[in-house]
Amino acid sequence: MLDLLAQTGLNAVYAASYISLVAVGLVLIFGVMGVINFAHGELFMAGAYVVVAVYADMHLPFFIAVVVGLLFVGCLGLLMERALFRPLRDNPLGGLVASIGFLMILQALASMGFGVRMEFIPPVTQHVVWFTDSISIPLARVYVIVAAVLLLSALWYFLKRTRFGWALRASAQDPQAAELQGISIAQTAKIAMFIGAGLAGIAGALTAPLISVNPHMGHSVIVTAFIVIIVGGVGSLEGAIIASVVYAFVHTFVTTFYGGVIADITGLSLMLLVLIVKPTGLFGSADRA
């Protein structure tokens, strides 16, 4: 029984790390752009397809594919910023519709370019780290966990210790005041979109060899990410990370001990419960809603 608990805990740590990458990106975009990026799951999907193209089809090293995934999807983010969100800056519902349109285009491009069936990605490593003879974690999952910790620490440093980060946080809190301080909103918007999309892309790229890659894989990711950022409080990066960990642990343990469908219901109920007790999420403030 103790073994089962420990193994489930390890499974949850992995889940927490890729969920938090996606959720932090979504929070960043919402914070700075004020727009709900419905296409965020499809950015995750695009990252995974970069790995299909670069690593599986062109046989380049996995590490390169992941970096390309980060850059490519980051650029998709820049494209969205320039083509969609900048013209629609005063129209958050318009941004929502535009991101839905973008989502449909990405899905259709993936189905036409790669086929509707799941893609094959050769394993990066088959090595498994064994703690006891019944508790283990595959090395490929350790990579995801390590990458998530490194990326999120780097992001934290960037936001709290650099001028760019200060500008980003300022414009997320109060765009007008930030502009008065001489912060270029256009500049910060670009940076936020690049980082936010890039995080979704790198999460997709890192997990691609571990999950089924198909044109509709973004759907379940975005649902999870929405739940997480609501529980954490919209606009709060710390909240998103903590909520990712809480959600991943609850969902993983309930899946293991009670079943997958019950786990989904529990996750959603947990979120509603948090909102009933504190309608702006655990770490959110009312004015950004």
Binding site: I100, I105, V223, F226, I265
Partner: protein, 317 residues
């Protein structure tokens, strides 16, 4: 003079409309009619400033309720449709307790979660909801004759007349509500909530009222759908459908009563008739997505803004 003629002309045009269409277009027309009700009821909710992602699931509540009333208790179909709407409104009242503690983005996602919980419950409880397969063999509307016309509700034309009649009544009620003092208060709740509250308006009560009424009409729409296709399942009311309703409303524009209806009609014809006729198979979602983006970029105030411009110009002349 024109004012009095416009309604009979519109009525005759609607009566004649299906006869000019192909069989499959008649089918699409039936679903379009139902969707017009769904999207119009959605607008009522958005008047108070809240955007819900649970609307389609609540429409499904009406569909499930009406289907179960006829199946389990043998309720006469038109009556059960009404009951379906009532159940949807009741569920909305229940949901309003947790949901209306939230606003804005929190409400949007909170309503999504509430809807997903309902959908998962349908999936989880095979008795009475039928699980993932849902309910099939739902009683059709019983055929009848009104002397000059025999209604055979398998035929899309007959069902279009029936559903169209119901939808027009519902639209009329929605219109009256919006023009009533209650409807004006909805607007106030949205734009001047602090002021309205200071003037003694119970914000929460009005939000709940709008939510319940909108949900009731969505429930009727769901029931109309269920008794036509004869089958419903949790997948019939998923996020994809909700996204379509949302885009119809926003692309059409929610500033006027006819905006969302316009969005629904134009986008449905584009997606289901034009793009299919042109033979785009896998390209269809791509083009539809591009249309969404183009329309929101170039018509930020919705399709209704074209009509308004046109109206203004003709008024000037």
């Amino acid at each position: 003079m024109l004012k009095y003629l416009i309604w009979p002309i519109a009525a005759i045009a609607l009566l004649a409309l299906p006869h000019g269409l192909s069989f499959s277009q008649q089918e699409i027309l039936v679903f379009l009619t139902i969707n017009v009700l769904v999207v119009s009821s959605y607008r009522l909710l958005t008047l108070t400033g809240e955007w819900s992602l649970a609307h389609v699931v609540i429409m499904g509540v009406g569909a499930y309720a009406s289907a179960l009333f006829t199946k389990e208790m043998g309720v006469y179909v038109p009556v059960s449709m009404l009951l379906g709407g009532l159940v949807a409104a009741l569920i909305a009242v229940v949901l309003s307790f947790p949901l209306f503690r939230m606003k804005g983005f929190y409400f949007l996602i909170g309503s999504f979660a509430a809807g997903e919980i309902i959908r998962l419950l349908w999936k989880h409880f095979r008795e009475p909801f039928g699980g993932a397969k849902g309910i099939k063999g739902i009683d059709p509307m019983p055929d009848f004759s009104i002397g000059i016309y025999d209604f055979d509700f398998f035929e899309p034309i007959s069902y279009f007349y029936f559903a169209g009649f119901i939808v027009i009544i519902c639209l009329w009620i929605l219109w009256r509500i919006e023009r009533s003092p209650v409807g004006l208060t909805f607007h106030a709740v949205h734009w001047q909530d602090k002021l309205a509250e200071a003037s003694g308006v119970n914000l929460r009560a009005y939000r709940t009222l709008a939510f319940a009424v909108a949900s009731g009409f969505a429930g009727v729409g769901g029931a109309l759908l269920a008794h036509y296709i004869g089958t419903i399942n949790p997948g019939s009311f998923d996020l994809d459908y909700m996204v379509f309703v949302l885009t119809w409303a926003i692309v059409g524009g929610t500033g006027t009563f006819y905006g969302p209806i316009l969005g629904c009609v134009v986008l449905t014809i584009l997606n289901e008739v034009v793009l299919r006729e042109m033979g785009f198979e896998q390209l269809r979602p791509l083009i539809y997505g591009a249309i969404l983006i183009a329309s929101i970029l170039f018509l930020p105030n919705g399709l209704e803004s074209i009509v308004q411009k046109f109206n203004k110009r003709s008024a000037k002349q």
